[in-house]
């Protein structure tokens, strides 16, 4: 299926977010179109993670509007965002350490499970069917990410690269329509990065999932993004297709000015 970039699904208008005296985001506007890979870049502390947190309701901006498929939403909690099909990964791995890979992925299916407490207690009726049905879905994700061999391993025991992959798996298990990835390749070696890139592109391509990606590796960003937003000190300094952004003098200055 040739991927076709669709209409705007999330429109962020004049978002400002403060923590006490710290201005994490100042008056930021940009939009996300269906099926695209939209990257957010910027130096450390620019406000990239805060932006993702605003999109899926972890942080509530003091000012600004978020319009989702034409409807404005005031204040949304993360679980409501999940209900609308938003899923994400975190900059610092946020897996459920005490659970196996399989269970971590199964949590991604939770919103689709309807069995009541009593049904679950007796593993009866819907509880049984759901558990089997969703297990099948989760196995598809496991196959997709090539992690069959670690299914039953507690995630705490996995190496870093695999943990990142499992975290992507947990998000994918939810069959999201918007996937927010916060530095999914940070700290990986070249080979692992290539794998991760392949997974991201495949997800976007096969399922048409819209992806918002934060990444520091410019090579990767320029390669796979459709459009890129650049933040610096909480302000937007650039927005456009990779080539445009690459040649934007303000962006170049920001990157040269704050070498990390």
């Amino acid at each position: 299926m040739a991927r076709q970039i669709g209409e705007v699904i999330v429109d962020l208008q004049n978002i400002s977010l403060r923590f006490g005296g710290v201005k994490a985001l100042t008056d930021i506007s940009f939009n996300i179109r269906e099926h695209e890979i939209r990257s957010i870049i910027g130096p450390n502390g620019a406000g990239k993670s805060s932006m993702l947190n605003v999109i899926n309701g972890v942080y509530h901006p003091q000012e600004g509007k978020i319009i989702y498929r034409g409807e404005e939403r005031r204040k949304m909690e993360p679980y409501e965002a999940a209900g609308q099909g938003f899923a994400r990964t975190f900059q610092n791995i946020a897996l459920f350490k005490g659970m196996s890979v399989l269970d971590n992925l199964m949590t991604g299916r939770n919103l689709k499970m309807k069995a009541t407490l009593v049904e679950q207690a007796f593993f009866w009726g819907r509880a049984r069917n759901e558990e089997l049905e969703h297990r099948k879905k989760v196995e598809e994700v496991i196959d997709f990410l090539e992690i069959q061999h670690i299914r039953k391993t507690p995630v705490g025991r996995l190496p870093y690269g695999l943990q990142k992959r499992v975290e992507l798996g947990r998000a994918l298990a939810a069959e999201p329509n918007l996937l927010l990835l916060d530095e999914p390749m940070a700290g990986m070696n070249v080979e692992e990065k290539q794998d991760m890139c392949r997974f991201i592109l495949d997800v976007n391509d096969q399922f048409g999932t819209t992806i918002v990606l934060i990444e520091h590796d410019m090579g990767v960003v320029m390669d796979i993004s459709d459009r890129v937003v650049v933040l610096d000190y909480g302000k937007k300094i650039g927005d456009g297709v990779p080539d445009e952004v690459k040649n934007n003098p303000e962006v170049i200055a920001a990157y040269l000015g704050t070498q990390h």
């Binding site: 923590f19 993670s49 972890v58 942080y59 975190f90 900059q91 610092n92």
Partner: protein
């Protein structure tokens, strides 16, 4: 009105004692992130050590010094044999370990010093101060006043110690950020040993005062239960919080004990005394619903 003030003052004075015990918690929590449930057991242990030494023939001053060294030793041993071995565990595990420690001390202390209830005479009589009684008609116990003064002095002393000495500054640095403190060469283990020593000292003073007032007995361990709501109210990390929280809890608890049961009695009939046991907790909880960060805490948003 006089009656009200009498209760209020009595409550505030005993509140200072709660602050004192709460302070022991705060010190250890600030410096090592451990919520030391055994603080109450330490109060009991310290008081028992004082009377124990006196029974062996030591005068009060010597008994106090000996007891201080016992508490110091105990603190260092705890740090060395328990807490240091649990550095990588969750705060809740550490907390549960201190519950274990509580039981250990509650068995160990009476095993060494005997468990019979004993009086402790520190030379202050528990009687109304006459001048106040004559001029205002309010009963204020001399003992409570002196105890509150001693506790107040100790609290001020510790605050100054934290603010102005080198060790105090190191302690605060450790409290703010363990890693950073380590990286600038502050010896964590020594700091922790000192903190446990100081907490032992605070327990000793509390044990002496409470023991002299109510007798040295197992019930001293319950001082911890009095201090816990103070901590919820004031925050686990705040010295001023411990003090103000103690005063609030002390005063409101006594006032509640006097004024609430009659109301309930009128409503339901029967006897509703003894609300002191839970009232501070419920008060602290209600307060938290309004202000989850506590009296002096700062609002905090989890970072992801």
């Amino acid at each position: 009105m006089q009656f009200f003030f009498e209760i209020l003052i009595g409550g505030l004075l005993s509140g200072v004692m709660y602050s004192l015990v709460a302070l022991g918690f705060v010190l250890i929590y600030k410096a090592s992130g451990v919520f030391n449930f055994a603080q109450g057991a330490m109060v009991y242990f310290a008081a028992l050590s004082v009377v124990g030494c006196m029974e062996k023939g030591a005068p009060l001053w010597l008994a106090l010094i000996l007891a201080f060294f016992i508490m110091l030793l105990f603190g260092m041993a705890t740090e060395k044999f328990v807490l240091r071995k649990m550095v990588n565990q969750t705060p809740i595990s550490l907390f549960m370990a201190t519950i274990g420690l509580t039981f250990f001390v509650e068995g160990f202390a009476p095993l060494v010093w005997g468990h019979s209830v004993r009086g402790l005479d520190i030379g202050i009589v528990d009687e109304p101060i006459e001048s106040v009684l004559d001029s205002l008609g309010i009963v204020v116990s001399r003992f409570d006043l002196v105890a509150a003064l001693i506790a107040g002095l100790l609290v001020t002393g510790l605050a100054l110690f934290f603010q102005y000495t080198r060790v105090g500054r190191a302690l605060r640095a450790v409290a703010d950020d363990h890693q950073a403190a380590l990286s600038i060469g502050i010896p964590l283990e020594r700091i922790w040993a000192i903190v446990w020593g100081v907490a032992g000292f605070v327990a000793l003073v509390a044990g002496m005062l409470w023991g002299a007032r109510n007798g040295v007995q197992f019930a001293l361990t319950f001082t911890a239960l009095k201090a816990l709501p103070v901590l919820i109210l004031g925050g686990f990390t705040s010295v001023p919080g411990a003090i103000v929280g103690g005063l609030i809890i002390g005063a409101s608890e006594k006032l509640a004990e006097v004024y609430i049961p009659p109301v309930m009695q009128a409503m339901f009939g029967g006897n509703f005394g003894g609300i002191e046991g839970w009232f501070p907790y419920v008060l602290a909880l209600l307060f938290l619903l309004v202000r989850p960060e506590g009296l002096f805490g700062e609002k905090h948003i989890d970072r992801v």
